[in-house]
Symmetry: none
Subunit: 249 residues, 2 copies
């Protein structure tokens, strides 16, 4: 079932001009266009639009949204989960603002006293860990670089990447009961690091270590990693930490 602009606009609450704009910048081009140039939005287009709006609500610039949606690493289910966390975070920020406001009302009446810092609780918009993670996960410049290298490799290469990662993980998982500091493990971890760097990410030691930490701090990562074997996430985190420390020392 295809819809034209006005219908989509009314359905979603965005303006027609916005849809034009998204088309122009290549963020959302309707699957079909009539001979006369009329845009026809498919069901899939609507889903994409919904994703766009969620990301937009979280403050992502449109350019990044486009990169994310096209990134080969993009996974809708994962994105939805992340968006949920980020929205919850946003809500609690709003709650803080409301509390601040209520306190301000009382403060104005002279019933209580607020410090200056308290008067701005909730405004500081800079530290949403989930937004941060989303940026880590897909965002920033990393995306277009990896996109670039992927493009360079062509379609065939892309398929191989998944396999490469898979086999590497399997090899590592097989070692998960050994000492993470041992030579064999460290060598394999080195391959993993090189692999990431090859993808255009260029992880510094800190970043590499941080990535490892993410594997155990975020249970969604943990679950995914542990599919390769029980305790794999923790093992990776340890091994990556050790490698990072050795690189610095």
């Amino acid at each position: 079932m295809l819809r034209k602009v006005k219908e989509v606009a009314e359905l979603t609450g965005v303006s027609i001009r916005t849809l034009h704009h998204y088309d122009r910048i290549g963020l959302l081009s309707p699957e079909h266009v009539t001979e006369a140039g009329y845009r026809q939005y498919s069901e899939r287009d609507l889903e994409t639009l919904q994703q766009i709006l969620f990301f937009r609500e979280l403050g992502f610039p449109l350019k990044n949204i486009g990169e994310i949606l096209q990134s080969p690493e993009y996974d809708k289910a994962e994105a939805l989960a992340l968006q949920r966390e980020a929205l919850l975070e946003k809500r609690s920020r709003l709650d803080r603002m409301i509390r601040t406001l209520e306190n301000t009302i009382q403060d104005a009446k002279g019933e209580i006293k607020m410090t200056d810092k308290e008067k701005f609780e909730g405004f500081d918009f800079t530290n949403n860990p989930y937004e941060e993670e989303a940026r880590q996960r897909w965002g920033n410049e990393a995306v277009d670089r990896s996109k670039q290298t992927l493009a360079d490799m062509g379609q065939e290469g892309q398929k191989q990447i998944g396999e490469q990662m898979d086999t590497l993980f399997r090899r590592l998982a097989a070692m998960r009961h050994r000492d993470p500091a041992s030579d064999e493990v460290q060598k394999a971890i080195g391959e993993w690091h090189a692999f990431l760097n090859g993808m255009g990410h260029t992880y510094s030691p800190e970043a590499f270590k941080g990535l490892g930490q993410l594997y155990i701090q975020d249970e969604r990562f943990t679950r995914n990693m542990d599919k390769f074997g029980d305790g794999f996430a923790k093992f990776m985190a340890d091994a990556m930490g050790i490698r990072a420390d050795r690189m610095k020392g």
Copy 2:
């Protein structure tokens, strides 16, 4: 206690450049400036900034915020109460979005089915009655025009306005059991319309009718109006609607 830009920026979470900007456009000029031109923000400046940020959070354009804050009708306590309602409304909108997102997750798994309309619940940002009211109360272009006319009238005149409105309302309230379409009622309503126009609001027929509708649709208005007599709000809404229709026809 005076603070310089960086301190204010860190305290409030806005950038230094934003503070510069707000100064430039006359939205928030620090009370003191050193000889060298360094900005020095006072306690009162911080309070103003807080108000600015609340309004900004609600999506008000900076220009309007400036007008509101300088409007003679501006009352901080009232503003705070209104902001609270608007923020609560915003939160419930966010709640709707979160629910939508959670449904979408289930929908993606095939566990439930959503209609297209449901997929965009919460995105439609256009109907927040409190924001609407705030705009009605102080906002739009109306403010600076009425501000101008008020300024022209001087202080004494301002006091009179309240009284004028009061007596007009009393007169109208006395007629509230008559036919809203009758000549006498319509003549009084005409005075009310003229009064508003005289304040620089220039209500079109539609706007005038809409204002009447507000009296009965929003119970806070209703309560205030009904202080002049039971059913006064409804009577006004009817009479204003009739006048508007006659003006168009």
